[in-house]
């Protein structure tokens, strides 16, 4: 992961990967500043796993595709490096094994911040629940429990009253703008 990219120490990243039953998986990555205003947005075109991938990755396919492929590509495209990356997709936690950026998965109740057309994919994730932040349950990669400490200690400076699920609503709408076919008729 490149470390030469800029960061103003308050840039936050929000990354989601959603599944469309026909089109495949699509990811969106939004970088915002301390005012929650957008700085960068990156999204993927829909990705469909091949038959061989489905058979050979078996139950780890989603983690592989969402975390190691889609999320990794999106993060690599960003010019700014976020201080912390929030996701609502448990599968994205697998990215943490390949990235230095702390990652927290904000667990959402079904339907909150999600979309009927683009639901969150199921994942055999490797997350462990560690605590609550701004009223939401936080899960981190079990091999990187220090991510929780990192975020918790900086919560006042970074998050203030930010609703951690709200940016995902924006990303899902942006995905639907970018891929109109993903919107239900």
């Amino acid at each position: 992961m490149s470390t030469t990219r800029g960061s103003d120490h308050s840039t936050l990243g929000f990354l989601t990967v959603r599944q469309h039953l026909e089109l495949g998986y699509m990811g969106g990555f939004l970088l915002v500043n301390s005012l929650a205003r957008p700085l960068e947005f990156h999204c993927t075109l829909p990705v469909k796993p091949t038959r061989a991938q489905s058979i050979l990755y078996g139950p780890t396919l989603v983690d592989y595709l969402c975390g190691e492929q889609i999320a990794r590509t999106l993060v690599s495209k960003a010019k700014l490096q976020p201080v912390v990356l929030f996701t609502d997709s448990p599968a994205v936690l697998s990215l943490r094994n390949l990235s230095e950026i702390p990652i927290c998965c904000v667990s959402s109740m079904e339907g909150v911040g999600a979309s009927r057309d683009l639901p969150l994919p199921h994942s055999q994730n490797l997350g462990v629940a560690v605590g609550e932040l701004n009223g939401h349950k936080i899960v981190v990669n079990g091999a990187h429990r220090e991510d929780w400490e990192f975020v918790f200690q900086r919560r006042d400076e970074l998050l203030q009253q930010l609703d951690l699920l709200e940016p995902f609503t924006r990303i899902v709408e942006a995905l639907q703008e970018a891929h109109p076919a993903s919107k239900a008729a």
Partner: protein, 605 residues
Amino acid sequence: MDMLASILGGSAGFQADGNLPQEIGFADLPFRASWNIEGFATGWQSQIGRDIKIETSVFQAEKVDVSSIAIKIPQPKIHTLSFDFPESPQWQLAAQAKPQASGSAGAVPSSPVSNAPRSNVANSITRIRPPKDLVKLEDRLYYVLQPPLETLVSNAKLDFAFQPFPYQFEGIAFLFSRETAILADEMGLGKTMQAITTVRMLLLANQLRTVLLVCPKPLVTNWVREFRLWAPEIPVAVIEGDSAKRQWMWNQPGLPVRIANYELLMRDRELLQGNLHFDLVILDEAQRIKNRNSTTSEIARGISRGRSWALTGTPIENTPEDLVSIFEFLQPGHLRDGMSLKQMGQATRDHILRRTKDKVLTEMPPKLFRDAELELTSEQLATYKAAEEEGVIQLSDMGQELTIQHVFELVLRLKQICNFDPVTGASCKLERLEADLEEVAASGQKAIVFSQWVQAIDRISDVLERYNPLRYHGRIPSEKRDSVLQEFKQNPKRHVLLMSYGAGSVGLNLQFCRYVFLFDRWWNPAVEDQAINRAHRLGAAGSVTVTRMLVAGTIEERIHKVLEEKRELFNALFAEAGTPPSLGLNQADIFGLFNLKTPKAKKIA
């Protein structure tokens, strides 16, 4: 054995003599084995317990090359789209700025403000949506990816002097993303505040640098005051003074907001059609350009600009063509004359935002109408009858030379008699008004009295001297008008403000008054509504009582009836089509007042 045979398949099997083969091979396996087995003991041999003799020998398996096939799992190709949104540093500066003290003396909002606890309002989420006709994906995403307005306001510490209502946030979100828009909220819902706050946010976001606001002259000071209240950090310049000064002001760089009045546009026409460019031009009371052939409309359309907004509570005052004219400023060609109401409604749906008080302000104080049906005094009655009879006879005798102007003059003469007898000054209305005002003054309340004529206002003023009336009409110099309003508001001994419809029907905020008297009636109910809503606004201490004076059996009653029918039609059609039909009296209506035949159709305002 059967099992073994089955496993060995076709390459093994019992011989016909019952002995197993002495050597077997597997076609698919790389070894061969042989053995020697004598036949099974049968008969007497088995009885003596003789073992079966089995001899085995093992052969070395043949060496076989194991070949494998590598199946490559291709990495999925991930194609991405990327968008940058460079942030304006102004947002951070605003976050550091000190907001004006809330609710400070003199900072009374003219726009309605919410009394709801901040936490309740903060819980609402207002998202900015891209307009439907915005095509470029990057532009659409810019709006889709903006945080909710409430988050933006809270994080940037854009404190408001008073907490806006959720519907006002909706209005701001609507304007924020639109290059062409009409904010057509009913009077009193805070169009001014919504426009100013949106301008403030767009300036902070570096989406705008120069804004020109055009409004009627009497409202200039109101706009300046409102900018100070809702966007204290934004410098505002009023274009005024002699030609040289105005030219300097028009060309002065670094002025984010300029305010000019409509009359001034005429005088500075050449300058405006020169090299001046504005990122946004806002027309307040945009019905002023409803006649697209007027010079004002022509000049407004000629101003070089990026965005165009129109603010008006009455986008259609008389006919749907009024709206076509406003759109000629916003987006020429978008509407055409002759479009059906339905077509017009569809074409304008994404460009017009209109809310009414009954829909959005459930906590609005009630507005109580009281029609005071009066009888003319004997002096008035005699004069009225003579004037009407004589007038109708004259009109009938005119034959083909009869024009609407002739009829109109008679209507005006009769209306004036309903106000005052021209000879004796007797007035049934004034008698009633005096009586009502006694109660108003005794309870420490204040009232506004509207009339169409300055002469009538002067007469009323003389009679109501004991209530210390103030006058506000077209003949009061504009620089003195603000002080009149301040005096009325602050001096508890001033119980009555006498206003003309022309000067006092728009933009003023007199929500501390609980009584409104319409001494005579205007031609168009939209104008009457504007007048009433000076007092009936949020922030009013309680209900507002509107007394509409009406002399029975006269021209006033006939006009009232026609207007009420039109209002009903408006309500029915506006709900269905989203655009109202004609509201005012047209030529046929006026001729109909005296049962005269209409010559050629020509509408009046």
